[in-house]
C-alpha cells in the first residue's frame, strides 16, 4: 500500500462526457492523451446513468476507485488506486466540488465553469499537488483561490501612479461586473 494517499486524477466532464477541465497526476497510468481520453470515456459511460446528485457515488473501473458527483451539466470525478481509502478520495472530491460552488456562487454549470476557467484551474492546483492532497476544506480552498481579487500583492506605495490607476480601474470594472 502506498504510504501517502495519492490521487491519480481529477476530472470535470460535461453531460456528453467531453473534457471541461482535467488534471492527471500519474503519467504511468495514462502516458498519452489518447489513453486519458479513453479512460474518460469509460468512466463517463459507466457512470452517466447513475444518480450522483445528492450524495457522492463510487465505482471501480479496472483497478481504480472512482468517486464522483454530478451537478447540472457537469460531472466531477476523483480517481485513486484500488488500495486507496475511498473516504479520503471522497473528501478530496467534496472539498473541490464545494469550493467550485463557492467560487461560482452556487451557479455551477458548464458555461459558468468555462467562463471562470482560470478560477477552476487555480482551484485544482490548490487542491492537489502532484497527487498529494494539499487542502480539502472547501472554504479555505475557495478563499485561497479568490484572494487575488483583493489586490493585496504590491503595497500601493510601490506602484507608479499609472499602475495605481490601472489597478483602480481594474477594481472598479470588476466590482461593476459582479
Amino acid at each position: 500500500m502506498q504510504a501517502c494517499p495519492q490521487v491519480k486524477n481529477i476530472l470535470v466532464l460535461d453531460s456528453e462526457g467531453k473534457r471541461v477541465a482535467v488534471k492527471y497526476y500519474s503519467d504511468e497510468d495514462w502516458p498519452t492523451n489518447g489513453a486519458k481520453e479513453a479512460f474518460e470515456k469509460t468512466v463517463f459511460t459507466k457512470t452517466h446513468k447513475t444518480n450522483a446528485r445528492t450524495e457522492a457515488e463510487v465505482t471501480m473501473i479496472d483497478s481504480y476507485v472512482i468517486v464522483y458527483k454530478f451537478v447540472e451539466d457537469l460531472h466531477f470525478f476523483v480517481t485513486g488506486g484500488e488500495d486507496q481509502n475511498e473516504l479520503i478520495l471522497a473528501s478530496v472530491l467534496q472539498g473541490f466540488f464545494d469550493a467550485v460552488g463557492i467560487l461560482l456562487r452556487g451557479n455551477v454549470e458548464k458555461s459558468e465553469v468555462l467562463e471562470n476557467l482560470d478560477l477552476i484551474l487555480l482551484c485544482l492546483d490548490e487542491t492537489i499537488d502532484g497527487g498529494v492532497p494539499l487542502q480539502t476544506d472547501a472554504a479555505v480552498l475557495a478563499n485561497k483561490v479568490a484572494s487575488h481579487n483583493i489586490d493585496s500583492g504590491a503595497p500601493l506605495s510601490e506602484q507608479t501612479l499609472a499602475q495605481a490607476l490601472v489597478t483602480a480601474r481594474e477594481h472598479l470594472t470588476r466590482s461593476l461586473l459582479k
Binding site: 473534457r19 450524495e55 457515488e57 502532484g130 498529494v132 484572494s147 487575488h148 489586490d151 490601472v166 489597478t167
Partner: protein, 884 residues
C-alpha cells in the same frame, strides 16, 4: 434527468455565445500571446490569454518545442506585473510548460524573489513552482529557504514546502534527508494539514529505518494528531510496523481499536481496514472492526457503504464466519441503487452463505441479475461456481440457476464464464454430470458463438460416452452438422466419431450419420468424416475399436504447442516424413526470463552474457548435433537454463548450460571476451570433478579463438552411470592464450601468453534429470497411474519465511512443472496443495501431489505423494526431497 436534456436543446443555438473557447485555435492563441511583450501590460488581458493557453493544453493540445520555448520566454516577462491574479496564472503556466534546465535559469531569480516575498500566497506558490522545475544544483542554492519555509508560521507556506519535499525526495533524496529536523518540528504544528504533510514526508525520509519509524509511530500514537488525514497515515504506518515486528502480540492493536471510535469516518474506516488486513488476525481482534463496518453498511452515503462492503468482501475470503453477522444488512444491499455495491454484497453473501441459505439467496439473485451489466454478472457467476464447489449437495439449484442465465441475453465473456462454470461443476461433482451435459446440449442448440459451440462439442465427446445413456446426446450433436457453420460442423463430426469409438452399441448408427457427412460442402468436414469412417472400420462389420486407433484419433498430444509449431516451421519437405517424436517435450523456459534478456543486454552489450547463443531447446539441439564428438552421444534428455560462472562486468563472461544424456553429461560453456585489446585462443575449461565421484571425464572440446565481443562455446563431456540421477560439484578454470590486438588494424600479435581465469563452481543436481512437462488435467492423469506405484511420506521442512517460499523451494528442488496454477499460494493461507508433473530421466512420467501445512510459527510440514510408471523413480523423488 429530463431537465438537462431539455436545457441542452434550448441552449444549442446560443452555444457559440456562452463558451468563451468556441472555435479556439492554437495558432491564433499563440499570436495573441504577444501581448505579454507589451511595455504596458494589461493584466486582465494577459490572464485571459494564459487561460486560453491552459485550456488548449487541458484539451490535449501539445506545443512543439519551439512554440513552448517561445511561450515560455514571453510568459517570463509577466513577472514585471504586480497583479496577484496574473502572477498566479503565470505560476500555473510555468508548471504546465515544464521548461528545460537552461530555460529554468531565466525564471529562477524572479521565483526566488517571490519565495522571500511578504505575500504568503507568493511564497507558497513560488516554492511549489520552483521545486517542480528545479534540478539538483539549483536545489542546493534554495535549500536554505526551503528549510525556513517548512517551519514558516503560515500553514500554506509550510505545506507547500513539505509537499514539494515529498516530490523532491524521489529525485534528490540526499538533499531532502537533511531537512529532517525541520520536518520533525513541523510534525508538531498546530495546523492540521501541515502536520499531515510533515508526517508523510518524515515517514518517507525514514522508511528504511524500522526503528526510527517505530519510535515515530509510538510517540505520535500517544500524542495528539489533529488532522484526520494525518491520523490515517499514522494508522497505515502502525499496521506496517506491526506487520514487520515478529511474534504474536501486537502492541499497536489497542491504538487501532481506539481509532475505531474516532469522530472522522475516514479514520474509522482506515482503522477497521487495517485491522482486517493484519496478518494472522484472530476473530476476537476482528470483531470490533466488523462491527463498525456493519454500521457503515446502512449509511446513507454510497461511498461509505461501498468502502465497507468492499472490505467485508475481502475479509469473507479468509474469515467467512466473522462476516456472517452482517448477512442481513448485506441482503438489503442487493437492491442498492449503486450496482457496484450490490454486486459486492452478493458475492460476499455467496462466500459466507451456509448450505441452508443457498436457495433463498438464489431467488434474490435471479431478480438482481436482470438489471446489472455483464461484467458484474461474470463476478456473480464466478462466485456461484465456488459456492457450488463448497456445497456440492446444492448443485441442483445452482446448476439450474446457471442454465437459466445461460438462456438469457449476454455477451461472449459472460456466456463463456457460465459455460466454464458448468464444465467445472460437471468435472468436480459427478452427480451433476448428466444434468449439466443436457444443459450444455440445449445451449448449443441456440448459440451464436462458434468458439463456445466447438468447446462444448469437444467436451461432450469426452464426457458423453461415459454417461449411462450416451445415445440421447447424439441428436443434439447431429443437429449441429445440419445447422451450423463449417467450424462447428467439423467439431460435431469429431464428437460423433468419439461416441462411435467409445460406445460399440452406437457404432452402426454413428456410421450412418458419418457417411452422410461425406457429402458436406466443406473440405475439413468431409476429411474428418472420411478419416473416422476408415479408421473406425465403418465399411466393415462392427468391431471393437482397438486401443491404438483410439490413441491415434483422440489421444492427447502431450507436446507443448509452441514447440510443435517451431518444429513444423523448421521442417523442410523432403523424403523423410515429419517425426512427431522429434519435437521436444520440454516446456520452454519461462517467458519472464526471456523478457528480462533485452534489458540485461542494454547497458553496453558487453558484461552481460550476449545472447547466450541459442536459448531454445531446439537451437541447443542443432548446435550439439553440429559437433561430431557430441552428435554421437544421441539426443539430450534435457538442457538446463544457463548458469553464470562469472560476476557481471568482469573481463571474461562465462555461463554454462548442462545437457543431460542417458549416459553422459555435457557442459556447454558460453564465453565472451569483453576486452577490446585482446584476442583469446585455444580456450578451454579445465574441470575438476573430485567432488563428483560418479562422473568420469571423457573429452574436452576447446574453442580455437575468441575475439572481442563475439561469444563462443567450449564443451566438456563427462560419463555417468546410465539412468542414474548422479549429482556432484565441479570446479572450473578457464585456460587460454592471450594475444594483444592492435587497436588500429584489429590484428592480433603473433605471440601469446598462457593464462588462466578462475570460474565459479557448478553443480549437477537432481532437478537436472527432470523435464518440466505440463499436463492439462492432473486429476485424470493421476488416476490413470497405478495406485500401487504410489509412495507417500511426510517431511518437516523446518522454519521458513512463508508457505509460498517453502512451496517454491520444493518446486525448484524437484524441477517439475506446476499444474493448474497450484504454484501460487494465497497469502494468509495456512495450508496449500501443489500439483507437479514431469518426466524423469529414462522417460518415466512422474506426478507429485504436495500438501503443505504450517505446524508451528513458521514451521512448515509437507506430505508428498508421488506416482510414476516405475516404483524406483517414485522412490528416487522421495530421496531427492529427503536429501535436499
Amino acid at each position: 434527468m429530463a431537465q438537462p436534456l431539455v436545457k441542452k436543446d434550448d441552449d444549442r443555438d446560443d452555444e457559440a455565445e456562452y463558451s468563451p473557447f468556441m472555435g479556439i485555435e492554437k495558432g491564433a492563441v499563440l499570436q495573441e500571446a504577444r501581448v505579454f511583450n507589451d511595455p504596458q501590460l494589461d493584466p486582465r488581458r494577459c490572464s485571459q490569454v494564459i487561460t486560453k493557453l491552459l485550456y488548449l493544453l487541458n484539451q490535449g493540445e501539445t506545443f512543439t518545442k519551439v512554440e513552448a520555448t517561445e511561450v515560455f520566454f514571453a510568459v517570463t516577462k509577466l513577472f514585471q506585473s504586480k497583479d496577484v491574479g496574473l502572477r498566479r496564472m503565470l505560476y500555473l503556466m510555468i508548471k504546465e510548460l515544464s521548461p528545460s534546465a537552461d530555460e529554468v535559469i531565466i525564471v529562477t531569480s524572479s521565483l526566488m524573489k517571490d519565495m522571500n516575498s511578504k505575500t504568503d500566497m507568493y511564497r507558497a506558490n513560488a516554492i511549489r513552482v520552483l521545486c517542480r522545475i528545479t534540478d539538483g544544483v539549483l536545489l542546493t542554492q534554495i535549500e536554505r529557504y526551503l528549510k525556513q519555509a517548512i517551519v514558516d508560521k503560515n500553514p500554506v507556506v509550510a505545506s507547500a514546502a513539505l509537499v514539494s519535499g515529498i516530490h523532491l525526495l524521489q529525485t534528490n533524496p540526499e538533499v531532502v534527508k537533511r531537512w529532517s529536523n525541520e520536518v520533525q518540528e513541523a510534525v508538531q504544528s498546530r495546523a492540521a494539514l501541515v502536520q499531515f504533510h510533515a508526517l508523510a514526508l518524515l515517514h518517507q525520509i525514514r522508511q528504511n529505518d524500522r526503528l526510527a519509524v517505530s519510535k515515530l509511530v509510538t510517540s505520535l500514537t500517544r500524542g495528539t494528531v489533529r488532522s484526520p488525514l494525518a491520523q490515517c497515515l499514522l494508522i497505515r504506518y502502525t499496521s506496517q510496523s506491526a506487520s514487520n515486528s515478529q511474534g504474536g502480540d501486537r502492541p499497536f492493536y489497542d491504538f487501532l481499536e481506539g481509532c475505531l471510535r474516532h469522530k472522522a469516518e475516514m479514520v474509522i474506516f482506515e482503522a477497521a481496514r487495517a485491522i482486517t488486513e493484519l496478518s494472522g488476525v484472530t476473530s476476537r481482534e476482528l470483531t470490533p472492526a466488523i462491527t463498525v463496518l456493519q454500521l457503515f453498511l446502512s449509511s446513507s452515503k454510497p461511498v461509505l457503504r461501498f468502502a465497507a462492503v468492499r472490505t467485508l468482501n475481502k475479509v469473507a475470503m479468509t474469515h467467512p464466519m466473522a462476516v456472517t453477522n452482517c448477512n442481513i444488512d448485506m441482503e438489503s444491499l442487493i437492491s442498492d441503487q449503486n450496482r457496484s455495491i450490490a454486486t459486492l454484497a452478493i458475492t460476499t453473501l455467496l462466500k459466507t452463505g451456509n448450505e441452508s441459505s443457498v436457495d433463498r439467496l438464489m431467488k434474490q439473485i435471479t431478480n438482481f441479475m436482470s438489471d446489472i451489466a455483464d461484467e458484474f454478472k461474470i463476478v456473480v457467476v464466478e462466485a456461484i461456481r465456488s459456492l457450488c464447489l463448497k456445497f456440492p449437495l446444492k448443485y441442483r439449484s445452482l446448476m439450474n440457476f446457471l442454465s437459466n442465465i445461460l438462456r438469457e441475453e449476454g455477451g461472449f465473456e459472460y456466456k463463456k464464464a457460465i459455460v466454464d462454470s458448468i464444465v467445472i461443476l460437471i468435472r468436480d461433482i459427478p452427480d451433476a454430470k448428466e444434468n449439466g451435459l443436457l444443459h450444455l446440449c440445449e445451449f448449443i442448440e441456440d448459440c451464436e458463438f462458434t468458439y463456445l459451440s466447438t468447446q462444448i462439442l469437444h467436451f461432450l465427446g469426452i464426457e458423453g460416452p461415459k454417461t449411462s445413456d450416451p445415445s440421447k446426446y447424439i441428436r443434439y450433436i447431429y443437429n449441429r452438422v445440419h445447422l451450423e457453420n463449417a467450424t462447428v460442423r467439423a467439431a460435431a463430426v469429431s464428437t460423433l466419431a468419439k461416441f462411435g469409438a467409445m460406445v460399440d452399441a452406437l457404432k452402426p448408427r454413428i456410421f450412418v450419420l458419418l457417411r452422410r457427412c461425406l457429402f458436406d460442402s466443406d473440405d475439413e468436414v468431409r476429411d474428418r468424416a472420411t478419416l473416422y469412417l476408415n479408421t473406425l472400420g465403418g465399411d466393415g462389420e462392427v468391431v471393437e475399436t482397438d486401443k491404438g486407433v483410439k490413441e491415434f484419433l483422440f489421444g492427447a498430444l502431450d507436446i507443448p504447442l509452441v514447440n510443435l509449431e517451431t518444429s513444423l516451421r523448421n521442417y523442410e519437405a523432403s523424403e523423410d516424413a515429419f517425426d512427431i517424436n522429434s519435437v521436444p517435450k520440454e516446456v520452454k523456459s519461462q517467458p519472464l526470463a526471456e523478457k528480462k534478456a533485452p534489458g540485461k543486454k542494454q547497458p553496453t552489450g558487453l558484461g552481460a552474457p550476449p545472447a547466450a547463443p541459442p536459448t531454445t531447446v531446439d537451437a541447443y539441439e542443432r548446435l550439439l548435433s553440429s559437433i561430431p564428438e557430441l552428435a554421437s552421444l544421441g539426443k539430450p534428455f534435457k538442457s538446463s537454463a544457463p548458469t553464470e560462472l562469472t560476476e557481471a562486468e568482469t573481463e571474461y563472461a562465462v555461463n554454462v548450460v548442462k545437457h543431460i544424456y542417458d549416459r553422459h553429461v555435457v557442459f556447454q560453456y558460453n564465453c565472451t571476451n569483453t576486452i577490446p585489446e585482446q584476442q583469446l585462443e585455444e580456450v578451454s575449461v579445465v574441470v575438476d570433478s573430485s567432488d563428483a565421484e560418479e562422473f568420469g571425464f571423457v573429452l574436452s572440446k576447446p574453442l580455437r579463438s575468441l575475439p572481442y565481443d563475439s561469444p563462443g562455446q567450449t564443451f566438456v563431456v563427462f560419463e555417468k552411470p546410465e539412468g542414474v540421477p548422479a549429482v556432484g560439484k565441479f570446479s572450473n578454470t578457464l585456460k587460454f592464450i592471450v594475444k594483444e590486438v592492435d587497436p588500429n588494424t584489429g590484428e592480433a600479435d603473433e605471440d601469446g601468453v598462457d593464462d588462466e581465469y578462475q570460474l565459479e563452481e557448478l553443480e549437477v543436481v537432481s532437478a537436472d534429470y527432470m523435464q518440466k512437462v505440463g499436463i492439462s488435467n492432473f486429476r485424470n492423469a493421476w488416476e490413470s497411474l497405478d495406485a500401487d506405484l504410489e509412495r507417500v511420506d511426510e517431511y518437516g521442512l523446518g522454519p521458513r519465511e512463508s508457505l509460498a517460499e517453502a512451496v517454491n523451494a520444493v518446486i525448484s528442488l524437484l524441477g517439475m512443472q506446476p499444474c493448474e496454477g497450484t504454484e501460487a499460494v494465497p497469502s494468509n493461507s495456512r495450508s496449500h496443495t501443489c500439483l507437479l508433473s514431469g518426466v524423469f530421466i529414462g522417460n518415466t512420467r512422474v506426478l507429485a501431489r504436495l500438501q503443505f501445512g504450517l505446524t508451528g510459527p513458521k514451521e512448515v510440514a509437507m506430505k508428498l505423494a508421488v506416482r510414476s510408471d516405475d516404483i524406483a523413480v517414485s522412490d528416487a523423488i522421495h530421496e531427492i526431497v529427503a536429501s535436499g
